[in-house]
Amino acid sequence: MGIPTAPCTAINVSEYVRGWDRLYGSGMPLRYTTFPLPIAGVSRQVHQRYVNGNDPVTGKPIMQEIVDALTKPLTADEQLTGLPEGAVEPRLLSPDTEENLQEFFKEKDWTDYLPVVLPTEERVAAMLKGTSHKPDEVVKTLMWPGGGRQLTVEKVAVCAVMAGAKPEYFPVILATATMAPFGNSTTSMANMIIVNGPIRKEIGMNSGTGAMGPHNRPNATIGRAFTLLSKSAGNLHAGVTTFGSLGSNLQYNNCCFAENEEALPEGWEPLSVQFGYKKEDSVVTVGTGWTYVSCVGELVTTYPPQMLIRDYMKSLSGMGSTALLCADPLVAGILYDQGFTTKEMLAQWLSKNVRIPVQQYWGNGIITTGFTNLALQGLEPFATWQKLPPDSLIEPFINPKTINTVVVGGQTNTIWFITDFMIRRGVSIDAWR
């Protein structure tokens, strides 16, 4: 900015901003002052206590620290220019026993703390035979948490081995790697990996009974590989470069499954086809979200499924107008019989029929943080919604195109899950064969 500036941050990102931001972000040794949490949703009295209290990291009085940040002469370190040395990672680790290496991988936080398959040269070479792409090809440059880490085909193969995947799964894992790293937010988000197309059958993915549970090797290991590569190649570590307050158990596997395309009602298209691919294309879709709510019990004749789906959607934040319904084929069939002859018709109905009090909408911090400033600047519908009386009903899922449905399950009961996973057009798996 060109004038003395004192940035303020909350304690959860303190370690990142004081170290990593200078190395990989702004390049500046900014003089941060740290505040305790929470900052949102608490009273003026709490804020007064913070301002009159001490920085929880340095122990110094917060206001004195801010005054010092604006007035104290620069140290020699704060005047440095030029490029510091980057962290060079060797391709091979020092030889060691399997037991020591398993512990070493855990110490480095490269695992999910379950045993991994150690990525020997032989195993990685075998994995690389699962694609025609060269080992040094860059799949994606990971920009968060800084450092421009180049995720190569070989690095992805290392993580695929660690996850216990077979070489024939590797094109799917490479395609998911283009969407790496995993979701990272204080709000404790997670990911969902959905596979469509012929590769589901080729590699034996489960789209039927127990597809969303721990009952199938490709479902399990493809999802696990996404987390392992995010943590190891992506350098994501809890409390330093990831900030999920509670974290999400879904990140062990990223809710990886295949759509049960064979059981779709007539006229209902696979997810990938809805987004412009052909049925013969193999596609992986990586969604990001938080919430996963089960209807719990079977459907009843007195209350059609769309009504209960509508009711349960009221518990979602409405962030981005997004919802994703995971429905057993039996549910899809009943919805079809209710007149929803396409997935899009169901989305349009839900978009118009889910209504919540506007105070509930603004009562969620992710909405308030994301959209209040836009409302203050006049952007609709947020500007209008912000002026409404608290009990006014609004339709937060304003865009039916962001309400999606995926059919999965083994037809053992009329069960569905409503989630808030945001999905966009998936990635071609065929491009990574």
């Binding site: 900015m1 004038i3 003395p4 004192a6 940035p7 303020c8 941050t9 909350a10 959860n12 200078r22 190395l23 990989y24 702004s26 500046m28 002052t33 505040f35 900052i39 949102a40 949703g41 804020h47 007064q48 801010i66 604006l70 007035t71 002469p73 620069l74 220019t81 490029l83 980057g86 962290a87 990672e89 091979l92 680790l93 020092s94 030889p95 060691d96 026993t97 399997e98 070493f104 110490e107 490269w110 990525p119 020997t120 040269e121 990685v124 995720l151 690095k155 290392v158 204080t186 392992l228 190891s232 190649a233 992506g234 350098n235 308030t368 943080t369 994301g370 209040t372 400033n373 203050l376």
Partner: protein, 116 residues
């Protein structure tokens, strides 16, 4: 970490037949050019104009309210300071170059936050 590394080295020196070699899953990184801080040309805030910029994290009553409390602190402790409390345009992660120019032209210093 260092303990484990030393364990590894010790094992290598011992030349154990059970050793295996594995690939490193971590990626090399490239760091950015270091940028020096703006020089602090005044040793006191007396008579200065300080902008307090709420980036909007946590909604309209989070950082903004903290900054209002800070205004009270300055009024009580360094009353010659003039404080100007503003909200940044857009969402918390969006740039606001017009505001930065205004602050640079009209302010002596800036306090900005609060990121989470």
């Amino acid at each position: 970490m260092s303990k484990l590394k030393s364990q590894q080295k010790a094992t290598v020196k011992a030349g154990s037949a059970g050793n295996i070699t594995v690939l490193n899953p971590a990626c090399s990184s490239t760091m950015v050019e270091r940028v020096p801080l703006t020089p602090r040309i005044f040793s006191s805030l007396n008579g200065k104009t300080i902008y307090l910029v709420d980036i909007g994290w946590g909604g309209p009553k989070a950082g903004y309210d903290v900054f209002e409390v800070m205004q009270g602190w300055f009024a009580e402790n360094i009353p010659s300071v003039k404080t100007v409390l503003v909200r940044k345009k857009g969402s918390f992660h969006e740039d606001d170059p017009e505001l930065w120019e205004k602050i640079k032209a009209e302010g002596d210093a800036c306090i900005i936050g609060i990121s989470c």
